[in-house]
Point group: C2
């Protein structure tokens, strides 16, 4: 089974889902190397599109994502990574999930979750997740 | 709140999650028009990267995705669409979820779900989902 990395220029979207609650926590991208490193280490490693390098989730915060299972879709061009999320949340804005806002019909967005940690305390001036 | 469509060339990944079970059903892409049409109609409309046109999920199968909530992530470059999935499954291979295979350490993939419908009966020779 070959993952199709070509459709998005060497990357595939990787959905991160908390295994226990089913909550979708975030979406990142992986290239061949980051998927291999994720499988080797058992913790999620993305490819950062802005920094153009591998990026281990939790490298500065300690909020790593322990891999429980990796699933692939019918077209082999998207991944679903089921994880145990270590720490109070994955989002650098201080939330359990990066999807903490609902899009409203008029185009606005409404925060629908409570903060679970202080991003300043965890990250300081460091903005990496 | 502006969705950032530029990071992926006019598209954002849209994760489809069954509202009731929490199951992740599929991942598609949306451009500005497909998001607007999704919001207007209340049913999910993707942008097909292969056919380069809007693609209403369920247009041939009847397996439409009724929108319950649209969430956006911290960077506003990914969507989580929580839906009621009409019908026995979303996958054109005959499964409830497109993520019906687990990636194995050696590089293989193992089917981890049962078929919920016959794709031939639903789609015939038509391969659109």
């Amino acid at each position: 089974m070959k993952i199709d990395f070509q459709k998005s220029g060497g990357l595939v979207p990787a959905i991160i889902q908390d295994e226990r609650s089913g909550d979708v926590l975030m979406l990142g991208f992986m290239n061949v190397d980051s998927l291999q490193e994720t499988q080797r280490s058992g913790e999620v490693v993305f490819f950062s599109r802005s920094r153009k390098q591998l990026w281990k989730k939790g490298e500065s915060s300690g909020h790593v994502l322990r891999v429980r299972e990796i699933r692939v879709d019918c077209d082999a061009d998207a991944l679903l990574v089921r994880v145990e999320a270590v720490g109070p949340g994955v989002c650098h804005k201080g939330y359990w999930s990066c999807f903490f806002r609902a899009v409203e019909p008029g185009g606005g967005a409404k925060v629908i979750a409570e903060r679970t940690f202080s991003p300043e305390a965890v990250y300081g001036s460091e903005k990496r997740q």
